[in-house]
Structure formats: structure tokens, C-alpha cells
Symmetry: C2
Subunit: 270 residues, 2 copies
Amino acid sequence: MSSTHRREITGFSNPTVKYLRSLREKKHRKREGVFLAEGLRLLTDARECGHVPKTLVMAKGRDPHPLLDALEADVAAAGGEVIETSSDILSKITGKDNPQAVAGVFAEFDTSLAALDRSKAKIWLVSQALRDPGNLGTMLRTGDAVGAGGLILIDDCADPFSVEAVRASMGAVFTQQLAQAGWDEFVDWLRQGDGQLVAASLRDAVPYRGAPYAAPCFVLVGNESRGLPEDYEMACDLRVTMPMKGRADSLNAAVAAAVLAYEVLDTLEA
Amino acid sequence: MSSTHRREITGFSNPTVKYLRSLREKKHRKREGVFLAEGLRLLTDARECGHVPKTLVMAKGRDPHPLLDALEADVAAAGGEVIETSSDILSKITGKDNPQAVAGVFAEFDTSLAALDRSKAKIWLVSQALRDPGNLGTMLRTGDAVGAGGLILIDDCADPFSVEAVRASMGAVFTQQLAQAGWDEFVDWLRQGDGQLVAASLRDAVPYRGAPYAAPCFVLVGNESRGLPEDYEMACDLRVTMPMKGRADSLNAAVAAAVLAYEVLDTLEA
């Protein structure tokens, strides 16, 4: 493949390096409306879902790969920029000691509820005040696995476009739909159509095994340390609880969502 | 309560502060045979499981609490040290911006397989080459929730005594037994008694729902990016697979362990 359209960057202080590096901070991502994703597998997932990076950054000395060639051709065809740089500089950009050989800058998605088509899937994950980007990415990954339509982030959650969340999603940030909304806005939207809202809860709850799940089922989990506000739980159609055999009374939020989502999947597929 | 046995530390450069801060690094923990845990809830869990800190560090200006008084009395009675310091210094010790009001230094536990009594529980979690301390702590927390006996770490795993793992375990590091061993050593130990080894796997696997689980059931998950080596999977008594409806072929390791462990729990309790 011709490399004439590639731009090479050799200096750490290059303005493009500074720009790319700044995208690890939320305020810069929001201002630019873009986010960073790294790794050939993730970028290939993105490509197959129709997401072409605006900028592709490749490490010199990488192993050649036909998927990388295809990616580069797409970026060039779409008028994007292809940058070649050192592993060290790529490492500085992504903040990872052992960087992948490639990273991309993508336009952020529309995360309005209006863009969600609830009829597209039987399961949707909903998370309230989720603070940990790793948990957020893990929930996206779980959503992909259970065939969910996407993840709805309620109230003040971690940024789904952070490097940590994108990394933990293992590409699911491109396959799952994402929406962000306040609680009232979400409930208004939900009640305009079909949808069962199910909370993992300890209050007035039935066992999660064999509960009467119905599609489209919206699986709601709360904040990592505080759980869900009581009035949110009470607004749900169903409250379910998982066995707690030990001293603790709760699971990690991403774990709770996964155990519950797999149970819902089993019920809805039966 | 009398405070005459308390020692106050006001300077960041105090040798005790340096010592406590050094415990965030594995090499220092191993040399000293101790680890750090933070937060009243976690330290209370520890206390109720019979673990008294060698050193208790409390922030000045904390809210008084009867559980904290009880903790302090235990530490003093056991000949341990009670230190009072500023929130800023406590924050420097634990590496957390919003530190809890209290932290403790505990002796590391015996993590030999010989110390495990497999008859104590129907479920045991086993993790191979688990690299992420957050995942490790989450698995401990899940183990507590499903009534597992403990977590067995195979090959080169993250340190269960790291601040991150202890924090993510939400106290389960004190309620779950911990063992560390190489694969061959683990299999030798396992085959000396009852025990079904079950792998989350894609090879020659049966659906995880309704699989013939038997107690004591050892639930094995592999490394975050590589999964389990094929020969490890083939040494298992049962290989099970979870539905994967999306593009991905795997779940987060801690999520896979949890979904599987809850299924095993349901089967063994039926």
C-alpha cells in the first residue's frame, strides 16, 4: 500500500501529540466531540460497525496486517488523517506502558434517548450514577454478550468515552447503543412505550431466579457504594434480589448487572 | 476512651508515614509480611473475622463511632500501635483523594493450599493468571456473596494484598480464604480429595445452564486477555460455556466467574 498520505510525527512536543494526549481528559473530549480507542481488534470492531476514525495513529515498526491496511484505506478514503509515530509517543498518547500498535480518534455518538430504538433488543442495561469507568466498560461488554441493545446511563455517571471505559468495553462501545439522561427524563421516555424496568434491589424484592421478566426488559443497577435511591427502586416494575450468602449485602455493580442480565436472557429465550 | 496510648504524627516526612506509604508497593508488603486496608466497614469486617490490625491509623477530626472505639481497644489490648494523623497524611498513605477516616496494617495470611479445608464450602473460585487487582477483589466479593470458601490464585496473578484488590473486595479479603499455587501444584492438591473442576471455556463445552455441577465445585476462569491454556481446560472435569449473542467471544473474567458461580449455587442448592 502507498504510504504517501501518511504523516510522520517524531517529536513528543508536536502539537498533534499534545492534542491526542489531551483527549484522555474529559473536558478536552467534550470540547472536541471525539474520543480515543486503541488496538487493532477494537478498531476493526469499530470499522465493521461502520465507525471510521477521523485520525488513525500507527506505531512504526508494527507488524503488517491486512486489517490494518483495510483500516488505513478506509480512513484515507473518508478524508481522515493517518499518522505514523514511535511506540514511545503512542504510549504517551494512550497512557499505556505497552501500547497497542494502533489507535484511532472517533467522533462521539449521539447519546440522546430519542436515538434509541427499544424494539431492537429484548434486553437493555441501565446504570444509575455509575462512577467507575472500568465497570461502565464491563457493562457494555456484558451487554454485547447477552445481546442487549445498549446501555443507558442515568444521572451523573463516568464518561463512556474515557480511555478506561472504551478499553474495558473490549469494542462493545461500538456495538452497543449508548444513551445518557437524568432519571425523570428516562422514566418519561420509558413510559412512552413498552418496557419493563427491573431493579437489582433488597427492598420489597422477589428472587431473581424465575422472576417474571418481560421484553423489552430494562435491567437497572445503582451506584457502586450507595445503590439505587429508594424512590427509583419503587418506580420499577419489578425488584429482584440475588442470594447473598456471606457478610456482604451487595455485589460489584457490573457483576450484579451481568448475573441479572443472564437470568433475563435465559427467561426471555425459553 | 483514654487516648494516652495514641501516637500523633503531624509530618509528611515522618518515617512511619514513609513506611506505611511504602506498603502500597508489593516488594515492601512482601518484605514486611503485611498489607493495608482502609475504612471502618472493612476494618470492622476484619475484626469480626478475628483479624486485628498491628497498626491502626486514624484521621484527626473524624466522627466518633463506637465501632472505632472497639477497634482501638482491640488493637491496644493486642499490643498494637494506634496512630493519629491528619486526613492529608492518611490520604498520602492510602493514595486515595478522599480517604476513609481509618486504615489498618494487617499481617498477611497463610496462602498455602495446605491451609485450605475444601469441605468447608460447596463452591471455590479459582483464577489463573488474573492480572487486574480490581478483578481479583471483585472475585473475592462475589465469592463471599455466593458462599464460596475462598479464591485460589493459579500461576502469576495480581497481588491479593494490594490496596486496589483489598478495596475492591469490600472486606471479602478477610472472609474468603486465599491460596496461591502453580497449576501442577494445584491439580496435585485437588486430586487428593473430592472436587469437580469446572472451566468457563469455548472448547468442547456444554451450556452452563443445567450442567451437572457437583460439590465441592471449583470454578476456574482464565487470564483477562488470553483465557485459559488449552491443556488446563482439558484437565477440567467439566467445561461450560455461556451464551455470547454479540461480536465478543468472552466476558470480563470477574463477570464470567460470577455468572457461573451463581449458576453453580442454584444447582447445588436445588
